[in-house]
């Protein structure tokens, strides 16, 4: 007797309240029907074994699915996840840039700042990733349970049934033209590190000397006021860089348009670099004196200046060319 009641309880507690009593009564009478008149505990066990696992029986009674996301929604769910995760990661990195253009770095060395920003970037990507995963999964679990349509066919991204027309919307991306997501993340992280270092150059970049078992910041290399005076140019470069990264993410592959945009971006960065480096007050007096004491650079000054510009131009041309070359691949 005891066993029967326990069994029925095990089934009904998994069912919605309103059906419990009726199903319990029916199960009770069914089990009694199956038992002989004078039954033993062994008989009861045999009957219950025939009815099977209470969990399975209960799931048979329930209309709600026993899975979080079923075959109808699974593919849309995975596609959306793959689409949204990189976008969310990019947004979190852009937020990191914003934070560091206006933020105060405090007393840190360059290495510390770079490591801190890389750490923050990765942590940001992971935490937004978890957020996206959680909310999207929740959304689809709810959809799965509220969808009352009898249609069991899997859905496409537009939440409609598949038709041959859908094939036309599939972008045909060749492996050689594809832009890896990691490249986009890397360039955004690079921009945020650049912004942080640029606007805190007086604290970060300069001459360090080893004294008392540690590095001491002797003198900054750059005049922060000079650097700061170029802020509109720098802002333009940062915003263009961010737009370029978003554009790369959306297009997903190298196209002529993208290669052109990339070339313009590279060109503007180089022009900005040349303008800033040509400012005679860029370096602090202390720095120049310090360097002059170490090496006799005065006669080399213009050679170094032109050398640096030449190297920069070379890389600009190379990067722009790479974009066009990949865009031309068929």
């Amino acid at each position: 007797m005891e066993l029967i009641e326990l069994y029925i309880q095990e089934v009904t507690r998994r069912l919605p309240e309103k059906n419990r009593e009726d199903i319990a009564l029916e199960l009770q009478s069914t089990i009694e029907d199956m038992l002989p008149d004078d039954y033993t505990e062994q008989d009861v066990k045999e009957v219950l074994l025939k009815l099977g696992d209470p969990v399975t029986l209960a799931s048979g009674y329930r209309d709600r699915p026993m899975h979080l996301i079923g075959p109808r929604y699974y593919d849309v769910y995975i596609s959306l996840l793959k689409m949204i995760l990189p976008i969310a990661a990019v947004i979190s990195l852009i937020a990191l840039i914003g934070e560091n253009v206006f933020g105060d770095i405090g007393e840190k060395t360059v290495i510390e700042v770079v490591i801190m920003l890389i750490g923050k970037g990765i942590a940001g990507i992971i935490s937004t990733g978890i957020q996206v995963f959680f909310w999207l999964t929740l959304l689809f679990a709810i959809l799965e349970r509220t969808d009352t349509s009898k249609d069991q066919m899997p859905l496409t991204k537009s939440l409609k049934r598949w038709t041959p027309e859908d094939l036309k919307h599939i972008p045909n991306i060749s492996k050689k033209k594809v832009i890896p997501k990691i490249e986009i993340f890397g360039s955004l992280l690079g921009i945020s590190i650049f912004a942080a270092v640029y606007f805190n150059a007086a604290n970060l970049l300069g001459v360090y000397e080893g004294r008392n078992n540690g590095l001491i910041f002797v003198t900054p290399s750059f005049n922060q006021e000079v650097l700061n005076s170029y802020w509109p140019l720098i802002f333009c470069i940062i915003i263009l860089g961010v737009i370029l990264a978003i554009y790369k993410l959306l297009v997903g592959q190298w196209t002529l348009k993208l290669a052109l945009f990339n070339a313009i971006y590279q060109l503007l960065s180089t022009i900005t670099f040349i303008i800033i480096i040509s400012n005679p007050n860029l370096f602090t007096h202390e720095f120049i004196t310090y360097i002059s004491n170490l090496f006799s650079i005065n006669e080399w000054k213009s050679s170094i200046y032109w050398g640096v510009i030449l190297i920069d131009v070379f890389f600009t041309v190379l990067e722009s060319y790479k974009g066009f070359r990949k865009a031309k691949i068929r």
Binding site: L25, L51, L57, G60
Partner: protein, 115 residues
């Protein structure tokens, strides 16, 4: 029997279960009497499938149910509704057609083998 064959057989039979149950509900039946009737015709049915199936058929308005409390133990009786009867007749036709087609198909395969 291998487990694969087992699961394939179960799958093959699953679809016919509704038809088998509907066919026995022209007169009112309660759960266990239905199991016995089906077993007498050689159809073994997983009981954990049958009882929920009856409920589902009721929800789909193919059968109606009523409690009989006049006997020593209360029993829930199920009987085909008018709508259920219509569906049953159509489903029966479908089955006859399918089994006929499959019969010819399998027969043809046998003949090919003997050639």
């Amino acid at each position: 029997m291998s487990t694969l064959l087992n699961s394939l057989t179960t799958e093959l039979r699953r679809g016919t279960l509704t038809l088998a149950v509907l066919s026995q509900l022209k007169k009112p039946q309660y759960g266990y009497s239905l199991v016995q009737r089906l077993e007498k015709s050689g159809i073994t049915i997983d009981q954990s499938t049958l009882y929920p199936l009856l409920r589902r058929l009721e929800k789909q308005e193919l059968v109606t149910s009523s409690w009989d409390t006049t006997e020593s133990r209360p029993r829930k009786y199920y009987i085909l509704s008018d709508y259920g009867n219509k569906i049953f007749i159509q489903l029966k036709k479908e089955w006859e057609k399918t089994s006929q087609e499959l019969y010819i198909l399998l027969k043809g395969e046998e003949d090919d083998g003997t050639d």
